[in-house]
Structure formats: C-alpha cells, structure tokens
Amino acid sequence: MAGCLKDSSLLEDLACEEGDEFSIHGKLMILIALFALLVLTSSAAVVFGAYKISIADVYSIILSNLLHLSEAQNMDSLKDIIVWDLRLPRVLLAITVGFALAAAGATFQGCFRNPLVEPYILGISSGAAFGAAMGIVFHQFFFSIQLSAFLFGSLAVILAYGIARVNKETPTITLILAGVILGSLFSAAVSILKYISNDSALREIVFWLMGGFYFASWSDVALVTPVVMLSFLAMWSLGWKLNVLSMGDDEARGLGVNPEKYKLILIGLATLMTSIAVSTVGIIAWVGLMMPHATRMILGPDHRFVIPASAMLGGSYLLICDTMARTLTSSEIPVGIITSLLGAPYLIYLLRTRGKSVFE
C-alpha cells in the first residue's frame, strides 16, 4: 500500500490495496486488451449470420456504406440490407446496451458499497416494464412504448430517491429498500396490466419483458448510443470520486468529497443510461451484476479502471450472447437465456479461482 501511494496523490490511489495484482501500467494494458477484445468480437459478430456472406463482402459493404461509395449501390442489395440494416445496427446496439448496463452496474455497486447491487436495484426495470406495459395496453394514450418505458423507469428511481431522502441525507440502506419496495409495487402493477390485457397485448408485454435485439435499427442506435456514451464518459471522469464514495460517507466527507452531491450525479447518470437501454431493448439480466464483478476480480476495486473495463467487457459479453441468440438455431433465442446460461458458470469459476472479497 505504501509503495502504491508513494508516487501518486492520495485520492488517486485510494483504490490501491494490498493484493492488487496489477500496477497502473498493467491495468492500462488490460483496458487496451479489453478494447481489443471488443473490436475483435464486433468484427467477428458482423460476419456471423444465417445468410452466408463472405468476410470480404461484409467489410466491403460496411466500407462502401461508411464512405458513401458508389460501390454500395452496385452491391447485391440483399447482402447490403443484411449487413448494413440488420447486422450492424444490432451489433452496435448490443455493444451499447452491454456498455450501459455494465458501467451502470459498476457505478451502483460503488455508490452503494454492495456487490449484490445491479442497475435495476432502484426499480428501473420494474418501472420501465410498467411504462412499457401501459404503452402496450393503453396505446391510445401513450406516444410510444419506448418513451413510456423510459419515463417510468426514471420515475421509479426519482421516487426511490425521494422516499429515501431524510434530513438532506440519503442513507444507502434506505435508498436500496425504497428501490426494492418501488420495484415490487411496479411489478405488481405490471401483473395487474397483464391480468387485464387481451391476448395480443399480453404476448407483447411478455415479449418486452424478455428483452432482445430482434428489431434493432439505426434509429435505435442513433438514439441510445450518444446518451450512453456521454453518460459513460461523465461517469468515468468521476471514477476517482466513486473510489472515495465507496469508502463510506464519513470518509468521503473527511476527504472533502460531498457524498450526497456525487451520489446524486452518479446515480442520475447510471439511471439515465440504464433507462434508455432498457426502454429500447427490454430487460436483460445478469450483465449489470456480473460484469462489474468479473472486472473487479481481475482489476481490483479502482473505479477509474472498473468502469471502462466493465463497460467494454459488458459490450463484448452481450454481443457474444446476442450473436449466439441469432445464430445458434434457425429461430431467435431470447438473449436473456444465454446471458444467464453463460454468465453464471463464468462467475462461479471466478469465485472459485479468485474468490477473495474485493469489498472487504
């Protein structure tokens, strides 16, 4: 620890603990490796699909479209549509959503100093599900299902925060409990909507709840990616403050960091990116819980590294899962099934091989 603090400022090295296996340089190398993994998985994912298109053709189509070359018009339009309109937006959306859920998960876990916390802890998923169900059942009153899901997802967190706020303070336990209560309430409301909905609306609600990238489009990418990336950058820039917050409110105050202010900012950013992701693709479990764990086990608890590493690992992981979902069988498999099936054994493996508690 002493060695770790020697060459850097106190705040920047708060995360250094005995047992950290990697130096700053080593951690940077891991970040670069994770970025390379993300590039590699996306390069591979865009090549895989039910329709056989050669690798050369796939990249030629992408380049032609990117550079607005006239070649794009001369390409086989079927291949062009498959690569440019079906696969690429789906790949980008899977990366973005994986990015959002994993980065938000890392932030929530840091803010609440609890490794069991996930992005949905404050009721975002239940709120968004309620919003989507309202948009489906009472579609005549709602502009769009996505907007309704986003608004109610955000509302759930605002309500949880409002309920938990007492005497200008927001105790972590109270906030989590408020989230659990609101989540439960919204879940009950979704059940009521399912109960009163007709057959086709019921099917739509069930479909929405399962989550997936079936209908990913360029407009989804254009809507979700900027919000997620800007929120991610803002969160990442506050990584060292999150390190301080994760030591406890009193310690944070002692170090001159206002815990209320920064918790509000970080939870707000995490909520924003989770809400927009969930409202677009539905509820996808495990990514937000598991990826921060996995990265923390590799890199230690320093959020300056955990946040980007989680995000990139989350993007790669969700992309691999979605590629499997669309290619393993002749029909689509709900991606949540694969995220759980692959994720749980991996986390068990990490726990068995590197099972130290990083929060102790």
Partner: protein, 380 residues
Amino acid sequence: MRKAILVLLALASILCLGSMPAMCTEKTITDMEGRTVTVSEPIERVVTAGETKVPCIMAALGVGDMIVGTGGATPKTSGIITTTPGFLIPAINNVTNLGRTYEFNVEGAAALKPNLIIFEADCAGQGDSINNNRQLIEKLELFNKSFPLAVLKNGACANPPSPDNIYREIEILGWLFDKQAKAKEIVDFLKEEVELVKQRTDGIKEEEKPKVLFGNLQAWSSTSKGSLMLITPDYDCATLYPGITKIKNAYPGQTRVSMSAEQLLNLDPDVIILLYNKQEWKAEDIRNETEYKAIQEMKAIKNKRVYSTGQLELYRSEAGLEFPIEMLIEAKAAYPDRFKDINVGEQLAKHYKALYGLTDEQAKDLKKCMLLDWMDEEGF
C-alpha cells in the same frame, strides 16, 4: 453455313420469345395491409411467417410444397404430435423453422432465398395492439427489392372478427399462385359450411341461449395451485364468431382469466367447451376423474354437456381452415336439437376430404391427431 446460322438464330429467337412471358411476368396485388405487392413469376420458394392458416391454405391450393421456411407451422409445444400443416405437407416438418412472431429470424428467412414471404397477422384476443407485427413487417419490407412481402390478416383482425378476412386471404393466395378457380371452390365450400351453422342458429332469442363456458384445463386439480381452467372471453380464439354461433358466453369478462373450482362453480354454465390441452384430457375425464371432484357438481358436468374442440385452439397455426367445424361443434353443443341431423364427425371427414383431398383413412388419422376423434366415438 450462313443459312444454318440464320436458322439457328431464328430458332433461338422463337425459343426466347416463348419463354420470356413465363420468365418475366410480374403481377401486382394489394395485400390486406393496403400495400401494393409486385411478384415476379414463377413463384417457387415461399416463406410463411406468422402463426395461422397460410400453410393450410397453400396445401388446399396444392402448392404446399413451395414452402421452404415457416414461422410456426410446425410443432413447438410439447405434447403436440403434429399440426394440421405438418400432417398435410409432411415435408414442412423438415423445412427451416424460423420461429413464431418475435422469434422470427429475418436473416434466416432471407438466407432461404424465397421468391415471396407471406406474413399472416393474428389479432386474436380482441387485440388491436399489434406492435410486434408492425416491427416484423418493417424488417421484412427492407428486402422488397430482393423478394416481396405480402401481408395477410386472419379472421380475428376484422372488427368484429369475421370469416370474410379468411376468404380474402384464400382469394389473394389463389391469385398469387394462379389457382383462382381452386380458391373459389375452397371459399364456396367454407361459406356453405358457415351458412349451415347460420341457418340453424337463425332466430334464436336471447332467453333461449344457454350459458356456454370456453376454457382449457390447465392442470390436474392437485397441481393447478387453485387455477383450474383458463377461460376465454368472446372474440378470442374459439369464441371469435358469436354472431354466427349465437352463443352466450358464460364468462362476461373481456380478457382471459384463470379460474379456481369455486369460481367455476359460481359461474355454473349449462355447457362447457374444452379448448386445446396438451395433456390430451378428454371431456369424459372431467366427469369421471376424482381429480375434478370439486367441480363435478357443475350443471354442465352433471348433465354430460362437456365437449371439446380438440387441438383446433388455442394455437391457431396447429389447426387449419377448420373454423366452420369449430362453429359446428360449438353450435351443436349449445343447441343439440337444432343440429340433431348433423353428425359433426362425419362433416369433419367430408371437410378434410373436400379441402385437402385426404382419403378416409387420412381424414381419420388427422382427426385423431387433432384430438377430434371423440366425435366419432360419441356419435356427435
């Protein structure tokens, strides 16, 4: 030599001219979504999406073997031996199953290089919330330059639900596959069957109508956790056409509900019509099994007025064009005196033979697959 070349050129021109119409013919139709669809002939490879009647209509038109991929025409639910399309077009069991509704693999469909994709929207359950349908249509429309998409809508998509939509579907498909005469024959036959029900139920007064409960047994009573039957309201699956069957639904609600034994006893309908159940329960089970002792005091059970539409519901793709038979079963169950001269089991055999060209033996086998052989056993 020059003469020989000229003769060859002339022959080639004649051959070319002769084959050009077949190769280049295009036809344009307006589908049931109001979209203009241009199809190049000949159509040889068809993908069907959605989960209703298209494969059966194609089988009836004699073009079922054109299906190279399908979304939901083959069994998915455990316990189902086969579906009507699977029985009529055995090869369909081996073609690519692209998944139902949201599971439909759009790229997988494109990989089959079809000449035409037919998407049949299903709006059953009084639903006009068809967001998934719209999203799937948008994705399939991307391929318009490569292969056209025709959108059809089943009977449930009309408001109120009407078999006229099904007749229109048949006409459109007949036109697409150049089988207009056969399509007309099929429509006329179905209209005749529906007319038979209409004539017999005509003039029934409200006070004459018995209370009929439609539902499927969800589980044995010991495993149902109190939820014994899933009850369907009007305009949902088997109850799409109350205006024709003149049936008064014992359940007045608007959405499907699960009911306990006590709730069922409280409704106490005059007639029960059991819909699809994958455990192959038969109507007599509900009368005799001790598992159902709690509801055996119901009027319908005591009076032995429990019937079944077999596997015609709840999954519409597992049945075919048998909606008139469904109406007949329901109407005869409700008004036995008005239909006492009609043997529905025999009518179903006639229906199968007329529409699909099945033999007696095949018709019997299909009845068994669809769990409708009880009608022959009971002389219904």
